[in-house]
């Protein structure tokens, strides 16, 4: 078998992998960034909404060519659609700011990695890892149909939700049923929607998840849904929920579907171990998705940067003890937040449409800027005292 040598092998050229490769290469390491698909950024498996606040942290210059629309805020609709909570971009967090064109965005990030010297291979799926004496030392890769060995001091697994490399290496990224959300999205054209806002629908239209409309400009939008696996009972149910919603809304029903995007996200707390001897997991492969929003792009980029930088520090001593620094950075950044959001997600998934309608009615009448836990609780107390007990632990 043909043999290649490098310092860092990054598996998967999505946002997390490209950022890991970029920051490792910046420190003078020899980096291979391998991608199984024949094109970076394709096929899209994403709703494409992101905020803009984190981009400076990972040194991504904003380029117009990968932005489809700029978003001013988010609107969240109650199950009966009578109450709408409007959040400004700052309040809404991860999912507003831009709606991306991922085909261009992913290629742009890969080009940033290439600029720093990373070598990119396409049509090169990893088919197994190389492990000697408990140390990950590379991967077997099928490069254009030919199996080759890539020996690396450090492997960074950025293989997305599939998270196979982690499991080959013996790291546990298995998800509980309640922490898997299955998603279907249509890119639709010729629909009427309010541009400049992302739209979220909650309740029994999307059990354990939500339904979204993210404008892409010129009467186009990503119209998608995520439903928790523990709320699904039969094959094809996710798609049926989406079709039913579209059928009920005349502004969408008149449109046409240009593309079907599918995938899944994790909605779990940060896993216990995301490093081992010679290996680090980043992004979706490390289950670093926000349990409430399902947003993963920012976290993938930031964790990719952390992993790239820790690679440089540990390159002569790539033990799990040294790589532990990466795990600590991740836990510090997301450990508490994702645990809290996991609890909130579980609570929200348990509420009936009736309860959500009442809660949203109250929140939609609290002035923006004055939205706080206390303000909401007081308003609930006043209008629906019978519900206070149900929300106390949530709020």
């Amino acid at each position: 078998m043909k043999r290649y040598e490098c310092d860092v092998l990054v598996i998967g050229a999505g946002p997390g992998g490209s950022m890991a490769a970029r920051f490792a290469a910046r420190h003078g390491l020899r980096v291979f960034l391998i991608e199984k698909r024949p094109e970076i950024g394709v096929p899209v498996r994403c709703a494409e909404g992101i905020s803009r606040a984190w981009m400076e942290e990972v040194e991504i210059p904003v380029e117009k060519h990968w932005i489809d629309t700029e978003i001013d805020g988010a609107k969240i609709y109650s199950p009966d659609e009578k109450s709408i909570v409007v959040l400004s971009a700052e309040q809404a967090g991860n999912e507003v700011g831009f709606v991306l064109n991922r085909e261009y965005f992913d290629k742009y990030l890969a080009s940033l990695a290439a600029e720093e010297g990373a070598e990119i291979w396409l049509k090169s799926p990893a088919i197994d890892i190389i492990k000697e004496d408990g140390q990950v030392k590379g991967a077997i890769v099928r490069k254009f149909g030919e199996n080759v060995e890539i020996h690396a001091k450090i492997v960074i697994a950025a293989d997305g939700f599939e998270s196979q490399v982690a499991r080959w290496a013996g790291l546990n990224t298995v998800l509980r049923e309640r922490d898997v959300v299955s998603c279907v999205q249509y890119r639709m054209t010729n629909i009427d929607i309010e541009e400049n806002f992302t739209h979220f629908y909650i309740g029994s239209c999307a059990p354990g998840g939500y339904l979204w409309i993210f404008p892409k400009g010129e009467n186009e939008a990503n119209v998608g849904i995520g439903v928790a696996l523990n709320k699904l009972h039969e094959p094809g149910e996710v798609k049926r929920y989406l079709d039913e919603f579209i059928e009920k809304h005349s502004n969408l029903r008149k449109g046409s579907v240009l593309q079907i995007v599918t995938g899944a996200v994790s909605t779990c707390p940060v896993p216990k171990r995301i490093v081992d001897n010679g290996i680090m997991l980043v992004g979706d492969a490390a289950r670093l998705i926000d349990p409430i929003t399902g947003g993963g792009i920012a976290n993938a980029c930031i964790s990719g940067k952390y992993a790239g930088e820790v690679s440089a520090k540990c390159i002569d001593n790539p033990t799990k003890e040294c790589l532990e620094e990466y795990q600590e950075l991740v836990k510090k950044k997301w450990g508490r937040k994702h645990l809290r959001n996991w609890f909130v997600k579980e609570k929200l998934a348990s509420l009936s449409d009736g309860t959500l309608n009442k809660l949203m009615d109250v929140i939609s009448q609290v002035k923006i800027g004055e939205i706080s836990v206390r303000a909401i609780l007081e308003a609930v107390q006043e209008k629906y005292p019978e519900l206070v007990e149900e929300f106390e632990d949530l709020l």
């Binding site: 096929p43 939700f161 499991r167 696996l229 039969e234 094959p235 798609k239």
Partner: protein, 60 residues
């Protein structure tokens, strides 16, 4: 017998990530299922966004 029906499958890899025993592999654009390792939990059958995973032993 369990398989991904290629005429329905969107080869997104969702089934791979939700399989608790890692018996599904996305080989570029083809889903391969190792039946010997499968524990018949039904996660992939219910969770596949397209409903592309078919098994003769599946019933609600």
């Amino acid at each position: 017998m369990i398989r991904a029906e290629p005429s329905i499958c969107n080869y997104c890899g969702a089934c791979v990530g939700m399989c608790p025993v890692n018996c599904i592999f996305l080989d570029e654009t083809v889903i391969k299922i190792n039946e010997d390792k499968c524990v018949k939990c039904g996660f992939c059958i219910r969770g596949c966004p397209m409903g592309a995973i078919l098994a003769d032993w599946w019933s609600k």
